[in-house]
């Protein structure tokens, strides 16, 4: 009972920190990461399918390194090393460096999602299109990609949900998302479990709503096909 009273008191005093700032920044960072990741991820996937050996190798190394190291480590490097390379960053708030890292991280995963999505389309489709006289380019655009997108979109949705949770690591640099809200309030009240419970419920609500939305989108896509 004390626990619930504490939760209510915390919410009464700090609701803005959790509901406005916390959720706001979590969604903002996730959208930035996934939108940026989708854009650069597509470029990476293109590069990987191109004929240039050097480009292919570079992309492969990038993707392997990003997927093979923890996000927290990447954030530290982004925040402390990027400003040495791009001096402009050092005068900006950490959220800029953090966003760049999240975009880079997400783009590596998205490029793999896109690659596997394209590869999952039966090679017979391409062969059939080519033998009907379509060029490689048109066959890709109007035969393979539309089918690939059906594989890609759900996986992209999952990536979005993963990113929502990954943004919590950005709290190391107090950028303002939900986990930062937890740190701020916990620092004031020394009530750890209560704050964690609030943040936990909010994270779950976010990801649950998102996954339900994605499910209904998927269903609609299936209905149309």
């Amino acid at each position: 009972m004390v626990f619930l009273t504490n939760v209510a008191n915390i919410m009464a005093k700090y609701w803005q920190v959790f509901l406005l700032q916390g959720i706001g920044y979590t969604l903002l960072l996730s959208v930035i990461a996934v939108a940026g990741g989708a854009f650069f991820g597509s470029l990476l996937a293109l590069a990987k399918r191109s004929g240039l050996k050097v480009l292919k190798a570079a992309v492969a190394v990038f993707v392997e390194v990003i997927r093979g190291t923890p996000v927290l480590l990447q954030l530290y490097i982004g925040v402390f090393v990027f400003p040495m390379i791009i001096p402009k960053l050092s005068s900006l708030p950490y959220i800029y460096s953090v966003s760049i890292v999240l975009i880079l991280n997400s783009s590596a995963y998205v490029s793999e999602i896109i690659r596997s999505g394209i590869e999952a389309v039966d090679p017979g489709q391409m062969e059939a299109a080519r033998s009907l006289g379509l060029t490689q380019h048109t066959a890709m655009l109007s035969i393979v990609l539309p089918q690939a997108i059906k594989n890609i979109l759900p996986a992209l949705g999952n990536e979005f949900i993963t990113v929502v949770k990954e943004t919590s690591l950005a709290s190391t640099f107090f950028v303002g998302e939900l986990m930062t809200a937890y740190l701020k309030v916990k620092g004031n009240t020394y009530l750890t479990m209560e704050c964690l419970a609030i943040v936990g419920v909010l994270y779950f609500a976010l990801t649950f709503i998102l996954s339900k939305l994605l499910k209904s989108m998927e269903r609609r896509m299936k209905a149309r096909a």
Binding site: N6, A8, Y76, M84, F173, N188, Y190, T192, A205, K212
Partner: protein, 302 residues
């Protein structure tokens, strides 16, 4: 699926309801704001970037009623503003986790780390350490807290034989606990990443006692609904541990000299105790009345 959404909506409404019940509070920040407003700097010597971990009331914490950079408040913020004034630099505070603060200073991402650091031998090896500054009794008194039922029952080190004492890892308290209880039959194997987790462990009776800086102990007790109290035991603290220091990059000796000069001046003019009292009020540990302020935050002098 509809019902799930309904449940979520209900939850959201509950949270929103809780939000409506906020109660008006006395102006806790009056004394603090008064001190803060006294500082000014033309910023003609560039910017002073300070790394700080604002989850450590009353040394540095967030005031959610304020926005932007002004939301980070506490003793170390006053100190940072004071240093910026003395060095005639523009102050930029970069909030980050405690261990990131050290990385920031090392990589030159921040000029100086001010986050309730204590002097330790290892820190002295890797950073330029400023002279001491004194945050009231936050560090000079190091105490042990316990559940309310044990309040005041443990006053000598021997009283703790057979019990478990926890502390925050890599902290001054770790050093003190090891020095004091290392040779005794006391379980000191419980190390916590942060104080909040340690307090939960204490409440859940996973650990019998926690070693804390006195000021943090007061904050913890003030927020524990009477569940937690001081044991009555205070550590014997060696002078070198008693105060806080700033971390500066090893190569930046010019800044170190200027900071030390400013710290010396603050010490000579006895600025620290007023700041610390104001922050204790701000963090809700003490009242304006108790510490000799009037309602507008002016220090009452006899």
């Amino acid at each position: 699926m509809k019902s799930y959404l309904c449940m979520l909506l209900c939850l959201a409404m509950l949270l929103a309801l809780a939000a409506c019940g906020s109660n008006p509070e006395k102006n806790l920040s009056a004394a603090y704001d008064k001190y803060l407003s006294q500082f000014s700097s033309s910023g003609s010597n560039g910017t002073l970037t300070v790394a700080m971990s604002p989850d450590f009331a009353p040394m540095e914490f967030y005031d959610v009623a304020k926005s932007g950079d002004a939301a980070i408040v506490g003793f170390d913020v006053l100190l940072a503003n004071y240093l910026a004034q003395e060095l005639d630099m523009k102050l930029v505070i970069k909030p980050m986790s405690f261990d990131a603060c050290q990385a920031a200073v090392q990589t030159g991402n921040a000029d100086i780390g001010i986050s309730g650091f204590s002097w330790t031998y290892e820190r002295g090896q890797n950073y330029a350490i400023s002279d001491f500054y004194v945050a009231g009794d936050n560090e000079t008194e190091q105490s042990i807290i316990c559940l309310k039922e044990n309040e005041g029952k443990f006053t000598k080190a021997e009283d703790f034989i057979g019990s478990k004492i926890g502390y925050q890892g890599a902290s001054l308290q770790q050093v003190l606990v090891e020095e004091t209880f290392g040779d005794m039959d006391v379980d000191i194997s419980l190390v916590y990443v942060d104080l909040g987790t340690a307090v939960e462990a204490l409440k859940a009776k996973q650990v019998d006692f926690l070693a804390v800086a006195h000021g943090n102990g007061e904050s913890i007790i003030a927020n524990a609904n009477g569940e937690i109290a001081f044991t009555g035991f205070d550590f014997v603290v060696d002078d070198m541990y008693k105060n806080n220091v700033c971390l500066i990059n090893k190569d930046n000796t010019a800044l170190l000299e200027k900071v030390n000069a400013a710290l010396g001046k603050a010490m000579a003019n006895d600025l620290y105790s007023g700041w610390y009292d104001a922050c204790k009020v701000y963090a809700g540990v003490s009242t304006l009345d108790e510490l000799g302020f009037d309602d507008n935050g002016n220090k009452i002098t006899e």
